[in-house]
């Protein structure tokens, strides 16, 4: 049981980071990025490239992928989101879906990335290393994933709550006109938000890479479960997104681990959560009531 919980929290970390990335982009641009999950996959593959080309260690690859993700986010914002914003919400949503299509099918065209999932090297020791806590075996990699998740959350928290730039970005997202009036460059703040959100996706793709493998067509599944997490927790609440993502991971693993339940049923059940969540509590567990129908 405890083992399932840890396994759930591990995959849930990936979902939590996708959910949080969706939240950051939504806050800044009022748009849900349907390509967020695919960016997660690309992030993992970027890390793989750093490892293969430069024989970098995992830490170096993680830093490289995150920075590359940030750059990718800036490009995505400048080439897709900004120009498409004039066409309205539905076309903009479709543009993010188109981006997802490009990333999902395009990554297989890049030499070395292929279409088969590949493992990232582990952060310490062997992938199979485990420690024993009170009779329960826990993979060392799982510890790393959770540790790195919370490290990222701490950094984001400090950035948004404690630094001038972070506050300016939040102001730009909350009230663009007001922010402009006090001299904040709203366009820039949006770009940086999207950059951060994609950097987060790349970071997430890398930290779960040693366990879930990187590449392949897994992006859609991660993206959708990230959405489920965001909806369950509350799209408008950062804490909700993280908790929701983790919760989805745990639920998924618990269902898979239950005796007598078909393994394949976990996905439909998790997806049903999306619809049930939307219907029963569209603002999510942590959201305020107001934002639902806009």
């Amino acid at each position: 049981m405890f083992q399932l919980l840890v396994a759930g929290l591990t995959v849930g970390s990936g979902y939590a980071l996708v959910a949080l990335g969706i939240h950051i982009t939504l806050r800044a641009t009022r748009i849900v990025n349907f390509a967020q999950g695919e960016f997660t996959i690309i992030g993992g593959l970027l890390a793989l490239t750093f490892v293969q080309l430069f024989h970098a260690n995992s830490w170096f690859a993680l830093a490289g992928a995150t920075v590359a993700g940030f750059a990718l986010g800036l490009i995505f914002e400048r080439l897709v989101l900004r120009p498409a914003a004039r066409s309205g919400e539905i076309p903009l949503t479709i543009a993010t879906l188109g981006t997802g299509f490009i990333l999902l099918y395009g990554h297989a065209l890049i030499p070395g990335w292929g279409s088969l999932p590949q493992p990232l090297p582990s952060f310490s020791g062997e992938a199979s290393d485990a420690i024993n806590v009170g009779g329960v075996t826990i993979q060392v990699q799982s510890m790393w994933v959770l540790g790195l998740l919370f490290a990222a959350l701490a950094v984001l928290y400090i950035f948004f709550e404690r630094t001038y730039y972070g506050k300016a970005i939040r102001a730009a997202a909350n009230n663009p006109t007001g922010a402009k009036l006090v001299g904040i460059d709203v366009t820039n703040a949006r770009a940086i938000s999207v950059g951060l959100s994609i950097a987060l996706a790349a970071y997430g793709g890398t930290i779960i890479g040693p366990i879930t493998l990187v590449g392949g067509a897994g992006g859609t599944a991660i993206a959708i479960k990230g959405f489920v997490g965001a909806i369950v927790g509350g799209l408008e609440s950062p804490v909700g997104c993280v908790v929701g993502g983790l919760l989805v991971g745990v639920i998924e693993k618990l269902i898979q681990g239950l005796p007598g339940v078909q393994y394949g049923l976990s996905d439909p059940i998790v997806y049903s959560l999306l619809l049930i969540g939307l219907l029963l509590r569209p603002q999510g567990l942590f959201g305020a009531r107001s934002a639902v129908r806009d």
Binding site: A95, T99, G100, F101, Y105, P268, Y271, L275, L279, P282
Partner: protein
């Protein structure tokens, strides 16, 4: 017929011709024939989605779910039944369509609760749940799906290979024609009104919720039909084929071709159908190309391929416009609108007051917007409601017309308790209303706006519209006729084919008044009609309002122009901070110290 569809109606025959020519060319080329067949199959599903996106402004990322329902219905039923071949496919298809329609109704009902990206996600979840069910259901073959689905057979004719091309396109073009019929009639105008301004449509009597649900069911039915043909021709159905990528592909078709109407969907489906086949050996590259194409279209040409065609069409027909309606040019010059004599107004045969408001209170959180207001209107009179800004006048109007729930109290219209009814039901009793900010349907012409105003008096049905039955065409003719009359009464004929968004401010108000009176309501709520009008326009408006009253209409007017109010009102009511502080004859109210204080403030 709404203007946007004119290009569509003319393009459909051309597309039909292209399909025929291509079919003849493809006779000796199986690859072509196959590509054409798939294009037809996807076109059917895309037409439904196009209606959903372009005509009702709803997005769906779950259309593959309906496609799958149709495909699995044919797959499982035809492989299990021992029915004669000619009956097997049509019956299975029918069942598939019925199930898809019912599921579509359900999804439409759910979709009412969401907008924008929440709707996108809810429909995405729906599609995923469908795939999950296909995947995990034993008798649907699980992950392997169902194989060896028989081809449809009618007597000696087996529908496969080349004949399939014709079969699929006959169904696709048939679906396109029916959809076009639907959009040409009253239903299409209602869709267009909803797309432009949902609230204004509702207040004119359009059951907007029902129309949205219907659009989902219709899109579901068409996707189901597409799926059932797909299953029969491919011979195999697997869950992955009807999963998210198909939903997104359908969306791409509609975006590439252009949403709203049918031609865009046909063009988009044909485009993707061919890229699909011709790019067969370039898997992945092909999908990347779709993605790029869609982003480029969204940025450079949001109307899609057909949008480009349509704008050409508009440019070439604009020059010819004045001669299109010679009868409009001959009429009297526009700005002398004093011939307003409405048709006779008949109120329900009851002794009850046209409008009785009793103890109505409306709170927004801690704010008391309307506080225990009661009054009754006398039949055939003009009453004005005045008060400082923020007094709760428009809130009271909203309470009467059913927009938002009242916190306490009740509203009766001609003796019928309408408290809590939806706005379109209240409108259907014979209640008209205009808005403070003239909520016209911007993308529709003035004439179409007024025809839309007569929605509740038109007698036609979905089915009659769908098959363009004589009754539908007659109703359409009569409604247009009446709308022209209404415009003529207000001297607005020369504006009939102007798009509402291009109107000058004063004309906008008058067109809204024409729209609100097009259905001959007997109770009319008019919200600040004179705001922003110049002196001669005000004079014309005053005359219009008095004519309406003299014809038997009961009017309730919100207005700030005191001279206008005092000159035409039999009775004046004054609201201040949500409370009625005066109610009586114009003169008495004018000299009421409380009212003077409210407007001018008191010394000391």
């Amino acid at each position: 017929m709404i203007a946007r569809l004119r290009a569509d109606s003319r393009t459909l025959p051309i597309l039909t011709l292209i399909v025929i020519v291509f079919g003849i060319i493809a006779a000796g080329n199986p690859t072509f024939a196959q590509a054409g067949t798939y294009a037809a199959i996807f076109a059917i599903a895309a037409i439904g989605l196009s209606l959903l996106m372009g005509n009702v402004n709803q997005i769906s990322l779950g259309q593959a779910g309906f496609f799958g329902i149709g495909a699995y219905a044919v797959a499982s039923l035809t492989t299990n039944w021992n029915l004669p071949a000619w009956l097997s496919w049509p019956l299975a298809t029918l069942i598939g369509i019925v199930v898809a329609t019912l599921v579509g109704l359900g999804l439409g009902f759910i979709a009412l609760r969401f907008r924008g990206h929440y709707l996108a996600m809810a429909t995405l979840a729906f599609g995923l749940i469908c795939v999950g069910i296909f995947h995990e259901t034993k008798f649907l073959g699980g992950a392997i799906g169902i194989e060896d689905i028989p081809y449809p057979r009618f007597g000696p004719l087996t529908i496969s290979g080349y004949p399939a091309y014709w079969f699929a396109w006959i169904l696709a073009l048939g679906a396109a024609l029916l959809t076009l019929n639907l959009l040409r009639g009253r239903s299409g105008r209602a869709f267009e009104a909803i797309r432009n301004d949902e609230l204004a449509a509702e207040v004119l009597g359009v059951p907007t919720r029902r129309y949205k649900i219907f659009a989902f069911a219709y899109a579901g039915a068409l996707a189901g039909l597409g799926g059932s043909i797909y299953a029969a021709f491919l011979g195999i159905v697997v869950p992955d084929a009807v999963s998210v990528p198909l939903s997104i592909s359908l969306l791409l078709m509609v975006v590439l071709g252009g949403s709203g109407g049918v031609s865009g969907a046909l063009i988009g489906a044909a485009l993707i159908g061919f890229l699909d086949i011709s790019g067969h050996q370039f898997e992945n590259t092909r999908e990347v190309a779709y993605g790029l194409l869609v982003i480029i279209v969204v940025i450079m040409a949001p109307g899609g391929a057909f949008g480009i065609i349509r704008s050409r069409f508009k440019a070439s027909s604009a020059a010819a416009l004045p001669t299109c309606h010679p009868e409009l040019v001959e009429g009297q010059p526009q700005s002398h609108p004093t011939t307003a004599t409405p048709r006779t107004i008949t109120m329900p045969d009851t002794s009850a007051a046209p409008l009785a408001v009793s103890h109505v209170t409306k709170r927004f959180g801690g704010l008391l917007a309307v506080n225990d207001v009661s009054f009754e209107l006398t039949r055939g009179t003009l009453t004005s409601l005045i008060g400082p800004n923020g007094a709760g006048k428009t809130t009271l109007f909203n309470a009467i017309s059913g927009i938002g729930r009242v916190s306490e109290g009740r509203v009766e219209i001609a003796g019928v308790d309408v408290t809590g009814l939806q706005p379109h039901r209240i409108a259907a009793l014979g209640v008209g209303r205009t808005f403070q900010n003239a909520r016209l349907f911007g993308e529709m012409t003035v004439l179409e706006n007024v025809v839309a105003g007569a929605f509740r008096t038109e007698r036609t049905s979905f089915a009659a519209d769908l098959f363009a039955l004589p009754s539908s065409r007659r109703s359409e003719r009569e409604a247009t006729e009446r709308a022209r009359e209404t415009l003529a009464r207000l001297g607005l004929e020369s504006l009939a084919s102007t798009l509402a968004r291009d109107l000058a401010f004063g004309d906008r108000r008058r067109v809204e008044l024409a729209r609100a009176t097009a259905s001959d309501p007997w109770l009319l709520l008019v919200d600040e009609p004179a705001a922003g009008l110049n002196a001669s326009e005000r004079a014309a408006l005053t005359a219009d309002l008095l004519k309406l009253r003299d014809a038997g209409m009961t009017l309730l007017l919100i207005e700030h122009d005191m001279r206008l109010v005092m000159s035409i009102s039999e009775r004046v009511m004054v609201l201040k901070f949500g409370t009625m502080i005066a109610d009586g004859k114009a003169d008495a109210v004018r000299n009421d110290p409380g009212v003077v204080a409210a407007y001018l403030g008191t010394a000391g």
